[in-house]
């Protein structure tokens, strides 16, 4: 009761806003619950039942009907276990990388093995797996693929870029600054267009790189520029005394960077890094414009089938939900990690501030 008074009815304007919000919720929530759950059609052999209930209840049967297509695109139906296994492999990579216990150099090998396994499973052509050309890859699978490979390659690229931008060698610094500013000055869409339309024009006749690979490279280059700036932010937060202490012990530049500077800088940079990962994960949906079949495209295409046309609301709610689950997980993880690590670094900074005062 006192909580109510303190937080919702502390003053007249507050009370009015609270009442207004309650009234809005009462108008919006019950109809939505009716539509989304109580009157919804969860499964149906075809779209007739859904058509009959249109406007009253959601047609989740549409999702049920199309879920294979939404998950795996036009990948051969009887081979769906392969992209399914790939999704599991990628989720396992995320899970292992999330545990601090595994933050060892060996994690890199684990990632290489995981990515290689995904490549073999998707393409096939070896170990008795049928070859599947990447034109047929699609759905949630492709979204995860673009995001995972994108970050896996962009991150290692971002670290030398960030270090290079702080380098004392003018050529190295110039290149890194130029690269980062050039890429950041261009929207991802135009990079994707360039990769899909312009790049083939510049390649010598007979040389082709397939569309997916071009898009993936464009996304890696794009993400690397942003991640580099995030990493640089972390590097800047390291007090100069740390570098001097490492120097005074006789550590060379690379040892100092790898053992003293980067481990601290990356920890400080975790929240903005995760923020960039989240943005990048959602940006993969832009491949829609160059005709790649990611999650959003496959949902859009599902809606083009005449029998199921018109259930766009359900389709896009579902798509949002999928994106939300991934992004929210990342966000929660980052918050938890920040709390855990504050025991070491932040506390150290605070103790320092207290001493100086």
């Amino acid at each position: 009761m006192s909580w109510l008074r303190a937080n919702l009815f502390s003053s007249w304007p507050n009370a009015i806003v609270t009442l207004l919000a309650l009234w809005l919720l009462w108008r919006v929530l019950p109809p939505f619950v009716d539509w989304a759950f109580l009157d919804a059609i969860w499964s149906a052999p075809d779209s007739k039942a859904c058509r009959a209930a249109k406007g009253e209840g959601a047609c989740w049967a549409f999702i049920a009907e199309k879920h294979r297509f939404i998950l795996f695109g036009t990948y051969p139906y009887e081979e769906h276990w392969r992209p399914a296994l790939c999704i599991l492999v990628m989720l396992a990579l995320y899970a292992v990388s999330a545990l601090r216990r595994f933050w060892r150099p060996r994690l890199v090998l684990f990632w290489l093995a995981g990515l290689a396994a995904v490549g073999v499973l998707m393409w096939g052509g070896v170990f008795g797996l049928g070859y599947v050309e990447n034109e047929r890859w699609g759905g949630l699978m492709l979204t995860l693929l673009l995001a995972t490979f994108g970050i896996a390659f962009a991150f290692p690229l971002a670290i030398p870029l960030a270090l290079g931008r702080r380098s004392q060698l003018p050529v190295v610094r110039g290149f890194c600054v130029g690269y980062i500013e050039l890429i950041r000055g261009v929207p991802l869409i135009s990079l994707l267009f360039m990769a899909s339309v312009m790049l083939p024009l510049f390649l010598p006749a007979g040389v082709t790189i397939d569309k997916l690979l071009r898009a993936q490279i464009a996304m890696i280059l794009f993400a690397a520029a942003y991640l580099a700036e995030v990493v640089r932010g972390g590097l800047q937060a390291i007090p100069h005394g740390q570098v001097e202490a490492a120097d005074a012990l006789g550590l060379s530049y690379w040892k100092k960077t790898a053992l003293v500077v980067l481990p601290q800088a990356l920890r400080i940079a975790i929240p903005p890094l995760v923020n960039t990962f989240i943005a990048f994960f959602k940006d993969t949906s832009l491949v829609l414009i160059i005709g790649l079949f990611d999650l959003l495209t496959s949902i859009k295409v599902s809606l083009q089938e005449p029998a199921w046309a018109g259930f766009g609301v359900e389709a896009y709610i579902f798509a949002s939900l999928v994106y939300f689950v991934f992004c929210f997980t990342m966000s929660r993880y980052s918050q938890g990690l920040e709390r855990d690590l504050s025991g070491q670094l932040r506390l150290g900074a605070k103790a320092g501030a207290l001493r100086d005062a």
């Binding site: 007090p239 005394g241 740390q242 001097e244 202490a245 490492a246 120097d247 005074a248 012990l249 006789g250 550590l251 060379s252 040892k255 053992l259 003293v260 481990p263 601290q264 920890r267 025991g343 070491q344 670094l345 506390l347 150290g348 103790a351 320092g352 001493r355 100086d356």
Partner: protein
């Protein structure tokens, strides 16, 4: 007998932009000698000892450490640095590593010492600075005095020939100063060559072979402590002593 001196500064000058931080510094330190450097703030004390392991580069004159002249040669600098330990005012421990890992880092990666051996050495050194029980704690979990003792042990882990101290007790609470000075006195008794920038005049009296008084980038006066404290020759030294001993 040039080899008698482990550190030699000859006519060293250093500018920060238009500001001259060091003016014609000449200093020779013999093996095993303990020098205390004092002087008002901004007098170039820290800059001078930071030139000795080239955390600051000098612009003219010569700096010789253990027979090697410090120039732009990176290899030589790293070799010298691995043989000159340094302790900072702000400790500068690596906060992402435990006390033990702070000590083993350089021996493992610079000296290529096997991990087990480095850890044994580290534990022995932590024992020597009287905090073996803190080996597995992170710097943030230690008091200032403990952190500074870990920092001394970290420098000693490289088995340096020279130890440089840059105001090692200035950032400490008064009750922690003694525990750090005790460790330094002990180190001095064991014969380590030490150059110490400090305002702890008690320490200077007991430990120093010579006190080196600096002002405005110059070495104004160098004398054994008894003479320096008893009968300073220059007006500037008298003024300085009256200011720090006057209260």
């Amino acid at each position: 007998m040039p080899d008698q001196f482990i550190i030699e500064l000859q006519a060293v000058n250093k500018w920060f932009g238009a500001f001259q931080a060091l003016r014609n510094i000449d200093l020779k330190v013999a093996r095993g000698e303990k020098i205390v450097v004092c002087g008002p703030s901004g007098s170039g004390k820290s800059t001078m000892i930071r030139v000795i392991n080239r955390l600051e580069a000098h612009q003219s004159g010569r700096v010789l450490v253990d027979g090697t002249e410090l120039t732009g040669d990176l290899r030589a600098i790293e070799t010298i640095r691995s043989e000159v330990g340094m302790v900072f005012q702000q400790f500068n421990l690596f906060p992402h590593l435990t006390a033990l890992e702070n000590l083993t880092l350089a021996p493992i990666w610079v000296r290529r010492m096997p991990r087990r051996e480095a850890e044994a050495l580290a534990l022995q050194l932590l024992e020597r600075v009287r905090i073996p029980e803190q080996a597995h704690k992170y710097p943030a979990q230690l008091s200032g005095g403990q952190q500074q003792r870990v920092a001394i042990a970290r420098a000693l882990a490289m088995r340096p020939k020279i130890m440089l101290f840059d105001e090692p007790t200035s950032a400490l609470d008064p009750e922690m100063i003694k525990e750090v000075l005790d460790v330094m006195v002990e180190l001095a008794r064991e014969g380590m060559t030490m150059v110490v920038v400090t305002h702890e005049m008690g320490f200077a009296r007991t430990v120093a072979d010579r006190v080196c008084f600096m002002d405005a980038g110059e070495i104004v006066e160098t004398a054994p402590p008894a003479q320096f404290f008893g009968a300073p020759r220059t007006g500037r030294a008298k003024l300085f002593l009256s200011q720090i001993l006057g209260h």
